[in-house]
Amino acid sequence: MKRATTDHWLVRYLLIGVVLAFIVVFLAFPVFVILYEALKLGLQFYFSTLGEHQSRSAVRMTLLVALTVVPVNTLFGVCAAWAVTHFQFKGKALLISLIEIPLWVSPVIGGLVFALIFGRQGWLGPWLDDHGIQVMFAFPGIVLGTAFVTFPFVARGLIPLMQSQGSAEEQAALTLGANGWQLFWRVSFPKIKWGVLYGMILCNARAMGEFGAVSILAGTVDDKMTMPLQVEQYYLSMDQGLSKAFALASVLLLLSAVTLVVKIALEWRHLVPSARRLH
């Protein structure tokens, strides 16, 4: 009975086969298609596409957005996780749920909400116009949309981590005369630093790939397009658009690969010392 349900070779091969099939269909094949299509017209075409003004501006924009959003969300995530785990207050459970909202709603909705607030016809639109501040179709709007979509990533990983660690060490530090600043940097942060970095990596990956919210907030203004938007722009254009789209997409793919490598290195570094300690 036990053999039949858990060990049967057929079950084993079937399950492994299903997983492999999924990986091939949803991961390996698309990656191959991207690289194939990107290089189909030759290396020269590939690099000249990447050298085009639009491509370069899109890469710059994406990096700039990630560079702004990731620190902001890291700060937010650490503050939120700290507040939730170290203080008792009413509505704490509600706050934790609120933090997760961007995971539940479509990014397009997030984008629309900001458009409703900051757009020309929006609540703050006229006031912003009067003061010459442009949010929609500009860098601030893109940052807002991306930040909205990615803001749970750091906090969500940290909250369970910090809850499981408790605050005994912090209390010990207090009785030893540490002030708030010393407490955080010397005691709390070392305990969570890998969790923070891990959250930053996830946040970064998601920020660079965000399309829905940003497509509403950035529109199709030249110079204000991130890579995913520019990929779509190329895709819709005539004149070898498909190959251009895939060329730029391959850069996005490369950035993801870098992120993935950093993440794996991190996990390895994080796991190996504790594994060593076990022996």
């Binding site: 209390q171 530090a173 009785t175 030893l176 005369g177 540490a178 305990k191």
Partner: protein, 239 residues
Amino acid sequence: MSVAVQNITKSFGAFPALYDVSLEVKTGELLALLGPSGSGKTTLLRIIAGLELPDSGLVSFAGEDVTDKSAYERKAGFVFQHYALFQHMNVFENIAFGLRVLPRRKRPNREAVTKRVGDLLQLIQLEGYEKRLPSQLSGGQRQRVALARALAIEPRVLLLDEPFGALDAKVRKDLRKWLRHFHERTHLTSLFVTHDQDEAFELADRVVVFNQGRIQQIGSPDDLRKNPQNDFVREFLEV
């Protein structure tokens, strides 16, 4: 330095953890707080250290009201029930922590820190263990490191929360003797929590018997044995 609490009351929600508690630890005294599990011993210790705020009542150190001072201003030496060592720091850094967070003008230099930590390691008989992480120590060793860490800042009062609670009988006995010896040498005002009657009677100058957030009786071990004031004390001490 003497430590006094006056009319301390503390509830968690509707649950009264401490009710009108007053006691004084005299300068140089070793006082034991003896009571069953859940009677509020840890809560009282945390209030004295400033880790918890009382609902009402006063805490004073050497006659000075410190009720409104935070834990980091009070700097009571606190040894936690479960040690609470800094897991990512080695033994040396754990003990040196209190010195490293001193304001710059009071902070000792490198040599002085090394010297002080070395002295403490000798005191707790753990020389050569500087580089170990807490996870690489036995329970008794961790307990001693926790003690050394608390002593490093030369606290004016030492608060010990079931310091030997999680240890086996033999180690318990040794550490108990060690603590008695340490106290006889330093006469550091100390308050220690236990639910072990033998421990309290062997170590302490005076014992406070505690139950359900109230003080039942305060007296010397002899006093308690000869004149238990109520049924609880009589039964708890089995006299």
